[in-house]
Structures are given as C-alpha cells and as structure tokens.
C-alpha cells in the first residue's frame, strides 16, 4: 500500500536511533565481565545482541565513556605485533551500568505490557 511504503523509512530511522541509544548501555554491559578491547566488545555485541551498527561507531563512544570516567583504558602489546587498547569499567562505570540496566528493565517491561495486543495481533 502506498501509505505503508511511505511510513517505512521513518520506521528504519527510528530503529537506527534505538540501536544508537542503547549502545552505551550495551558497551557497559559487555565490559561487566572484565577488560576487553574494541573488537572484542564489537564481537560481544554481534554475538549476544542484534546490534548491527557501523563498527567504527563504538570507538568514539568508548573514548567518551573514558572521558566521563566510566571506563579506564590501557595499551597492551598483542601477539599480532600491534598494541591493543583495553577498556575496563571503573567504579562509577559499574554504578552507571546498574542504574541504566534498572531503567531499561522497567521501561522494557512496561513497553511489553503495552505492546501485548500488537504482538498477539500479528500472529
């Protein structure tokens, strides 16, 4: 239908915004288990979530999280011959991750309730 075709791009745009918005929490959550370097974080996001983003996006965000004191970083020599920048959650990073996870869970559960009829209707 003409109408739904016109609606499509804005739904895509919304999805991109949604993915971008959840990226910060996703990175903090990925680091919860210990230190990782950029590519490891990306792999974690690819494996555990469906967060498809331009890979580079994660690096500017990591640098911001570091500037905000939520993560620390250190360069470690690798067997590949080039150093890797590892990130680790700071105390306030852990606290922020917990806060954000709480907000996310509450939000998701109320949305699930609200969307119940829509999802049921699709089936």
């Amino acid at each position: 239908m003409d109408h739904s075709e016109r609606e499509q791009p804005s739904a895509d745009k919304w999805e991109v915004q949604l993915r971008k918005g959840s990226l910060e929490l996703a990175i903090l959550a990925a680091l919860w288990g210990g230190r990782l370097y950029g590519l490891e974080i990306l792999k974690r996001l690819e494996d555990d979530t469906n967060l498809i983003i331009p890979e580079g996006t994660v690096y500017p965000l990591l640098s911001r999280l570091k500037a905000l004191g939520l993560v620390n970083s250190e360069w470690v020599e690798s067997e590949r011959g080039h150093p890797r920048k590892y990130y680790i959650l700071t105390k306030s990073g852990k606290q922020r991750a917990l806060e954000m996870a709480g907000v996310w869970t509450r939000f998701a559960s109320s949305m699930r309730k609200l969307l119940g009829p829509l999802n049921g209707g699709n089936k």
């Binding site: 918005g21 910060e24 370097y37 950029g38 590519l39 331009p54 890979e55 580079g56 996006t57 690096y59 500017p60 965000l61 640098s63 911001r64 500037a67 905000l68 690798s78 590949r80 080039h82 150093p83 890797r84 920048k85």
Partner: protein, 205 residues
C-alpha cells in the same frame, strides 16, 4: 606494486582522511584513536585470512565513512579533549557555528558571543585610534531631536553630532583596552564553561 603494498596504501589513505578530519582534537587523543582503528583493521584483515584489496575494502566499509567517524569522535569528545579548550575567539566562534547548526542553545550562545566580541572589538579599535584622531574618537553623549539622551561610540570616521560632549576623554584608552580584554576573556570563559556543562549533562544522548 605488490598486493601487500597496495593494501597498506589503502589503509593509510583511510587513516589519513580520518587524521585530517580530526584537526583541532587534542593530538594525543587523535593519535590513540587512529592507532586503535589501525589495530582494528589489521585484526579484521588477518581474521579474514586474506590480504586482498577486496578484503580490505570490506573491512573499511564495515568500519564506516572516515569523515563520519571523525565527526562522531568530535561530537562525543568532551570539551577538555578538543579545541573547546582554546582561548582563541576565532576558534570559539567556529565551534559555536558548528553547534548553532545542531540546536537552539548553540545558536543562542553564538549570537551572545558574537555580540560580546563585537563590542570588545569596537572598544579596542576606539582605544587604538584615539591618539590618531583625538578630536573625533570617543564616547559621545548628545540629545537627539526628541530630546532623548544618546550615547555614541565614534571611531573617527565622522564628526561627532552637533552639541555632543565627550564623556571619557583620554580615559577611553585604558578603559577601552581593559573593557575589551575583560569582555573577550569573560565571553571565552563563559562559552567554554557552558559547553562543558551542556556536554556533561548530555550523557545519555
């Protein structure tokens, strides 16, 4: 050119574009960002198992457009890490121009800073020109035809209005210089301070 050289050249091209777009970012941060991406590219290529131009293009495409990446780095960076640490009015105005295109706060700050720098600049010019045109340069007070009192800063381009009297005399030199320096300094400080506040409060953006 060997394939390995060709691949290396393409990677350097990508990183050079990125580097050029990061001008103004603190050198140390820009260097670390570029090295981090270089490591990412090398890891991705060796994971792909083949060092071919096609494989490199795929890795670079997945990483994203270097111009956009640099923009994202700049947008995400805190003022301490970028040229927003600068004291130069020209750099501050160019940052505000960029900000003004994003939101109203930026536009508001740009108009305010422009006005303050303009007044500061005029005072500075007045103070500098006074010794050359001592009879016309100055802060003049006069009554217009409605009888209202008007103040006019004259820079020696035209004669003062009839019946006007000069308020500051030679004092315009030290007062103008001090006020100009003070205004420019305060505006720069205030702009940097607001930018920092706004960016820090924007954690979830």
């Amino acid at each position: 050119m060997t394939v390995a050289n060709e691949v290396q050249k393409r990677i350097e091209e990508y990183l050079d574009t990125l580097r050029a777009r990061l001008r103004g970012v603190k050198k140390q941060n820009a260097r670390e960002f570029i090295e981090e991406l270089r490591g990412h590219i090398q890891d991705r290529i060796s994971a792909a198992g083949e060092m071919t131009p096609a494989a490199v293009e795929k890795v670079l495409a997945a990483l994203g457009d270097p111009n956009e990446l640099a923009n994202e780095f700049r947008t995400n960076a805190l003022p301490d890490e970028t040229e927003e640490h600068t004291k130069s009015p020209i750099r501050i105005l160019s940052i505000l121009f960029r900000w003004a295109s994003f939101n109203f706060t930026g536009l508001f700050m740009l108009v305010g800073a422009l006005a303050a720098y303009l007044v500061g600049g005029l005072l500075l010019i007045g103070a500098t020109l006074k010794p050359f045109n001592p009879h016309t340069v100055g802060l003049w007070a006069f009554h217009d035809e409605t009888g209202d009192l008007n103040l006019s800063l004259r820079l020696g381009t035209a004669d003062p209005p009839a019946g006007a009297h000069e308020l500051l005399g030679w004092w315009i030199v030290p007062i103008g210089l001090l006020a100009a320096v003070g205004l420019v300094f305060t505006t720069s400080r205030l702009t940097r301070w607001s930018a920092r506040k706004i960016k820090r409060s924007n954690v979830f953006a």
